[in-house]
Amino acid sequence: MPPLESGSRVRALLRNSVMEIVLLALCIFLAFRADGFLSMQNFLNVLRTASFRGMIALGMTMVIIAGEIDLSVGSMVAFSGCLAAWLTGYLAGPACGMSLGSAVTLSIVASVLAALGIGCITGFLRVRFEVPTFITTLAWMSVLRGSASLITKGFPLTPFPEWYNFIGGGYLLGIPFPAIIFIASFAIIQVLMSYTSFGRAVYAVGGNAEAARLSGIKVYQVKVLVMAIVAGLAALSGIMQSAQIMSGSHKTAEGWELEVISAVIIGGTSLMGGVGRVWGTLIGVVFLGVLVNGMTLMSIDEYWQPVVRGALILGAVLINLAPSSRK
């Protein structure tokens, strides 16, 4: 929101960039205190690690701005990775006899489509029967995690060819491939939210669904789409994750849903809906990534890390809330 006078413009810029400043301060601190923090290799590692969760956080930002929530994204990551692995094994196996290349491609497409379908079902239940997405996705969280175990029978599936690792562990032009996908997703979702009528409608629906409906906005479309988008992004992340570890494992991404939601909230998006920025989520994702990386580099006790992280999340939210509660 650009105000009129230039003096208050600077102040508003500072007020709206609290997390950016905090992140910068954290980086400066780590540059001095954590050995190896400032290396290019470390930077790329942080970026790669953050990308898997970051992609989902971008979709989660839309979901939360629309006034909904998705608790099933962690399970979705595991489910889609396992589904892709199982399908690849099945399609390339004696039953179908496909070439490994086409089997992998088909499996990826099928997993993402399955996720989109699941997201649509959640959205449909929300608009048609008014089932809160909190409940539906809580159910999916359990169902998808369980399904992943059923598919894999409890053991990681490893049908993937060597080159598959590129999707999760490779580099393109020196940049980790997942990071490229993450940045591309960021650009697309940023444009979607700021420069399309759909994005404007997401804000309106989250801010006041009734006013949006009575303005002739198709609220059901918005809700179904955002739920499908986050599920699709979680599936993509799951595929990349399976490529990084070269297997479909039902144990991946446990607890991710809360980490993803944390990143979105740190980024200044309101759980009440209607307020939030995609850019803020990017900052939140990087902040959490840098924090974990810094603690590891400083060899902070593994058991202390979640405690510090939790405290910082709460602190970040308090900082974000401060300007608005001062009114």
Partner: protein
């Protein structure tokens, strides 16, 4: 115990207006006193002063001849003044007894710990209900009760304070006919105990059934009190309205002859039925009706906010039976809902975002839009609406009520509508903003855009409209031309049952 509630020269000023101007009234115990007046006449301000919710600028309140100062609702309770509001203040998940004694549940000591004395809770609640001669299971959950029974609980809650004054603020607005009868019986019982009953209502036809006296306020002034036995509807209406100089719409406004919107046999179960009318090009058509006449439901159904189950709407050469807001928008219908805050605006978004809300598809190309494009639309709308807005990027909630209403109208202008449905567009906005809203309607009319205008302010309808339809009990009962009748005549036609 015969009590008395009096005011002496009560005056209440708000910035820019005088809500109450030296009002001296007196209400005796044992009688039901109706307090009536048009919207904004000052009756709710007076009630709020009695309830301790609002402080008078000057003047005194006397209870039983003793001056009292009511700084808060708590003070009012302490003086024995209780209010039953039309919105319920009950907790649906708790029992009747808990609701009646909320915050004052009797406790007892068990093993040194203070715990709720449930037998005493139920006994005390039952005693209150017995005193009102009502039989109601005190253990039932309030959420399971009907509206009328909830109202009884609300009254019982007020009675549990042993008040000497009870004020009822439009208690029948949510009740069915037979429930109203029960409520009246209860009010009579209370009056017989010597309690002062002040009864605020819009419904003139209720007065002979319940009131002993009728007190009228108009424009913040006390007009007079009449014994109900002597008052006729005509004299009461005359007291309410006084001598009005009826303003008229500009002479150049002409309604066309080409039908734009035709409504045939429209009905919605329990809300309205068999509604037929035609709206012509450029016409401003009013709907006069009291609260609960079905006018709001009709407007919402016309826009597709609620489905109707009988009849059809013909617009733009199409007959529509299944409606949604987005379909009606595409057919050229716009709607400004009654409740600005909750139904029309996204309060946390900027004025710009709200002005673009209804026309996102028009502003964008293939789904893409830019700030600059939105700004040019917004600047055009702001100029057209003569809204003074320092910064359209600020949240819309920072605007005054009148300007918010203009934003609501403005967001629709960009959809190039054929018809705009206005539900109470002037509610809670100042005189100047009202005139500006009328100007907008008239400008629209000159451009051939029709308006359907619902308002509780009958003077407004007479001032603004080409024709006025009268709605009563869910259906249209006649049509009048402004200029052929006065506002009190119109009021009587809306109120009375023929």
């Amino acid at each position: 115990m015969a009590c008395q509630l009096q005011t002496e020269n009560i005056r209440k000023e708000y910035p820019g207006t005088v809500a109450l101007d030296n009002v001296s009234v007196s209400f005796d115990g044992g009688k039901v006193h109706a307090l009536i007046g048009k919207n904004g006449a000052g009756k709710s301000t007076l009630v709020k002063i009695f309830a301790g919710a609002v402080q008078p600028t000057s003047g005194r309140i006397l209870v039983d001849g003793q001056p009292v100062v009511l700084r808060s609702p708590r003070d009012a309770f302490a003086q024995g003044i209780a209010t039953v509001y039309q919105e319920m203040s009950l907790v649906p998940g708790l029992s009747v007894a808990e609701n009646i004694l909320l915050g004052r549940l009797p406790h007892k000591k068990v093993l040194g710990a203070s715990v709720i004395d449930w037998p005493a809770v139920f006994a005390r609640a039952r005693a209150v209900l017995d005193g009102m001669q009502v039989s109601l299971d005190v253990r039932r959950q309030v959420g399971d009760l009907g509206m009328a029974q909830q109202q009884i609980v609300e009254i019982a809650k007020a009675m549990s304070f042993n008040p000497s004054v009870i004020m009822f603020d439009e208690p029948t607005s949510a009740l069915a006919q037979h429930e109203t009868q029960t409520l009246f019986g209860l009010i009579r019982t209370l009056a017989a105990k010597g309690v002062v009953i002040v009864y605020i209502t819009h419904r003139l036809q209720e007065l002979p059934l319940i009131a002993d006296t009728v007190t009228v306020v108009r424009d913040g002034r006390y007009i007079g009190t009449a014994a109900m036995a002597q008052a006729t509807p005509q004299t009461i209406v005359q007291m309410m309205f006084g001598e009005v100089v009826q303003k008229e719409r500009p002479a150049d406004l002409k309604a066309g002859t080409e039908p734009v919107l035709q409504v045939r046999g429209l009905g919605q179960k329990g809300k309205f039925h068999d509604v037929n009318f035609t709206l012509y090009r450029g016409e401003v058509l009013g709907i006069a009706g009291m609260l609960g006449s079905g006018r709001t439901e009709l407007l919402r159904a016309l826009f597709g906010a609620e489905a109707f189950d009988a009849g059809e709407i013909v617009i733009g050469g199409r007959s529509v039976r299944t409606v949604t807001p987005s379909l009606m928008k595409d057919l050229g219908v716009a709607f400004t809902p009654e409740n600005r805050k909750e139904q029309a605006l996204v309060q946390i978004l900027s004025t710009r975002a709200n002005l673009c809300l209804a026309s996102l598809d028009r502003i964008s190309t293939l789904g893409f839009t830019t700030r600059r494009r939105e700004r040019s639309v917004v600047n055009r709308l702001v100029a057209r609406l003569s809204v003074r807005m320092p910064d359209t990027e600020q949240p819309v909630s920072s605007l005054s009520g009148g300007n918010q209403q203009k934003v609501v109208v403005g967001k629709w202008l960009n959809t190039e509508p054929r018809v705009i449905l206005f539900d109470e567009p002037t509610r809670g906005i100042d005189v100047q903003a009202k005139q500006q809203i009328f100007q907008i309607m008239w400008d629209l009319s000159r451009q051939g855009i029709s308006s359907l205008f619902v308002s509780s302010e009958l003077e407004e309808l007479l001032e603004v409209c080409h024709r006025i339809l009268i709605m009563k009990k869910g259906t249209l009962r006649g049509e009048v031309q402004p200029g052929t009748l006065s506002v009190d005549e119109l009021f009587v036609r809306c109120m009375t049952d023929e």
